[in-house]
Symmetry: C2
């Protein structure tokens, strides 16, 4: 003790920074540690979390859930109209991104997209009449995730839209995602005028017909190897899909040219795919959904199997808590805006595409795609740091997906809600930024995080199930 | 001085390591510096090099040469038969890779490829008769580089072969390269049996016809942006061209489908390109050749404008020394062999593809393509280190080509023969390894360096031109 008082003062300070300031002012050296009590600072939650962290039943359940996710082999097996893929869409029903939300609470782009989909289906003569119909409550509005599906941004799926059908060859579960419309005025950003609806009609007819025939001719396209290769070619398969789209295109084109179809429609389909570097995104999402659905439903597991946003709230689901959503207002996006737009124009974080981060790619694989970090104002070193940091909140890593910039280390996989709360490290998500008004479209891109309140609520639910609760 | 004798001993030792060992044995600390006298240890050469390093006339010439290379805009403008692109090929003449070499001195793969090309041209009934004809001296055999052309491995160009025509839009000079045949039994590795010649016939007819029409319909494809993008997608555009081929494919396919041609040949061409991840290599080489030819012929410049191998010797040319070749036996390749093969099976380093390194990509851009370093047994950190090291022997960097792994730093560009000798750092080259016998094909891949003797000889030639000589 006498040593302690005579030696030079080297202090690590936790809590109020003023203590460190005083030591420095007195000539000592002090490091301010950025630490918060686990469980979001709530002593009761902290204690419950501590108990859950030690529970072997949860550890075992998590090992099962992560194993099912890693063993999943997502294969593109078919293209179907939504009504033929999802029984609930035999009726007048529209699916949207994120957790459940009532029409009147929805943000502009989602309302606009639903109104457009209603006009596209012919349930109303115009999008404005479609909006009135939706407001009347006559059309059921439900999350894509309630039907094994996902959709980017507004994430609208209506009965006549074509869907990618991805099957997990290991467990047999299927996942669905709509088709990517390209950039500019598109339904997923809430645009719903005639050029948008005309494109949807073409997609629901010619594009559907040709791609269905092509995918069936290919007899199943394994998506895991395409994603793995794309991660070595600058994609993180969320905000950047240029390489994956190219790899798919090279597989698809020869098959389409072998079809017994007139040349013109095949050519139009090929030109449509060639012109859209994001075309693979919707397949990446369906693949991730198929992997995560395999991990869902393991009793007591705290593994996160869904992260999704409806433009107002961010919602998560855990493998062991069934159909429950744990929601909180979406965090702001730290991003760069296209010229002429700013944060006041932005809709809240939106879309099911965070399924990619939930599966360990996207923002979790930023090290694969330094070009994106540059686009949002960071450096390649930031990208690698993000990918490394995500490992501290996951149950493991996915050896199928490796990152060259991290010496071919595996991507973090299987977010554990307990570890998020224990470390205070939030899952990072790459995202586009939609204009708050329907139809303006994308106005920027950036990085955001899942809100901690979702994880707190989820862990409270797990604690309530736990034996000592 | 008294201080020096009393303080702790910290020694940097240059030369015999035994001096450092003795200091360490006596309890001192010593760093052994790996240094050799510039100019390859020849005192006279060292002095001449020192004089050249200080010469303003050379500095100015090098600035002009590098500037022309950086300003070059290689554009794919046409596809032509060799006899229509290169006047010398209106006669019975065959072009090969590397510096000039007589038939009897050529390695197996080059002899095999020439014999095959003679049979393909119909100048002899069989490859064996072709070999006899070549041995008779009746067919002129000349380097591709003597005719503005390049070719990978054996690098054979005969009059009826189709060529990529790449024009530097800035200065108007044109460069040519043959088409990539794919992997397996191919002419560029010396294979010359019927499957090889049949494929060449198809390439000289259907492939030529469709690609010529497609390229003309596209009206010029700028290659610099494709290379720049591919460098962000895991290619170094020498040993790895998967991304660049995909980018070209996406540009090419819609144009080919718009052609007024029967569906079957177009389909076969598209399938041929889709099946070969190296298809872009020959365009990368032609682009680099167009950039470097723009830099050639600046009096007094010591910038290297050609590095090429004929399977026996490695040869270089400098911008300021006209048509002269400076040659030395090729260095061995530090690589990994396919199962069943070893170094005793390998031909010496072969091909004009080192034109990519001469232009600052390939081995100079290894940081772009960590997958290659893994393939040849290294780590991504080695790749970045290689790219960084090359900057110490180049006149500058190319802002058009950037490397994500180096925080989007520009690639080294414009090898200065003086700096190679002054630093002792040799240009690194990524290369495939051919079997020494004609037709076996590729048996490995690896990294090699340009031999220092070429640069010594080149600098002696420059010194002989210098005012004080």
């Amino acid at each position: 003790m006498s040593d302690l008082l005579t030696q030079e003062l080297n202090v690590v300070n936790v809590g109020l920074p003023a203590f460190a300031d005083n030591i420095r002012a007195a000539g000592g050296s002090a490091v301010q540690l950025d630490w918060r009590p686990p469980g979001g600072g709530d002593a009761g939650a902290g204690m419950r979390l501590a108990r859950l962290l030690a529970e072997s039943r949860i550890e075992e359940a998590n090992a099962v859930a992560l194993g099912r996710c890693l063993e999943a082999q997502p294969v593109l097996v078919d293209v179907l109209l939504a009504r033929d893929a999802i029984p609930a869409l035999e009726e007048r029903r529209i699916l949207h991104a994120g957790p459940p939300i009532a029409w009147e609470d929805m943000c502009g782009p989602v309302q606009g997209a639903i109104a457009g989909a209603i006009a596209y289906e012919g349930w109303a003569a115009t999008p404005d009449e479609g909006a009135a119909l939706a407001a009347s409550g006559e059309i059921a509005l439900e999350p894509c995730h309630h039907h094994g599906a996902v959709g980017p941004m507004a994430g609208i799926i209506s009965p006549s839209m074509p869907l990618w059908v991805v099957e997990n060859a290991t467990a047999g579960n299927r996942a669905y995602c709509n088709f990517n419309e390209g950039l500019g005025k598109v339904l997923r950003f809430g645009a719903n005028r005639s050029e948008v609806l005309d494109r949807l009609s073409w997609m629901g007819n010619e594009l559907f017909d040709v791609l269905q025939a092509g995918v069936r001719a290919l007899g199943g396209v394994e998506l895991r190897p395409i994603i793995a290769q794309a991660l070595h070619m600058g994609d993180e398969v969320h905000n950047r899909n240029a390489a994956a789209t190219g790899l798919l295109f090279k597989r698809l084109v020869p098959a389409l040219l072998e079809l017994d179809r007139p040349a013109a429609p095949v050519r139009r389909v090929i030109e449509f795919v060639a012109a859209n570097d994001h075309f693979f995104l919707n397949l990446s999402m369906a693949a991730c959904k198929a992997m995560l659905d395999a991990a869902h439903g393991v009793a007591h597991s705290t593994m996160v199997t869904v992260m999704a946003r409806n433009g107002v709230n961010f919602g998560i689901r855990l493998s062991g808590t069934g159909d429950a959503w744990f929601q909180a207002p979406a965090n702001p996006v730290d991003g760069l805006f296209f010229p002429g737009y700013g944060v006041e124009d932005a809709a809240a974080d939106l879309g099911d595409s965070a399924i990619t981060e939930t599966a360990g790619v996207g923002g979790f694989a930023m090290a694969a795609a330094p070009a994106i970090v540059q686009f949002v104002g960071g450096t390649p070193a930031d990208a690698t740091e993000n990918s490394r940091r995500m490992r501290s909140i996951t149950l493991g890593t996915n050896p199928a997906f490796t990152l060259p910039a991290m010496n071919f280390g595996a991507t973090a996989c299987g977010i554990d809600a307990r570890l998020v709360l224990d470390s205070g490290i939030l899952p990072v998500i790459n995202t586009g930024i939609a204009h708050r008004e329907a139809g303006v479209g994308q106005i920027g891109a950036g990085i955001t995080t899942a809100p901690v309140a979702c994880f707190l609520e989820a862990i409270e639910a797990v604690a309530a199930q736990a034996p000592g609760a």
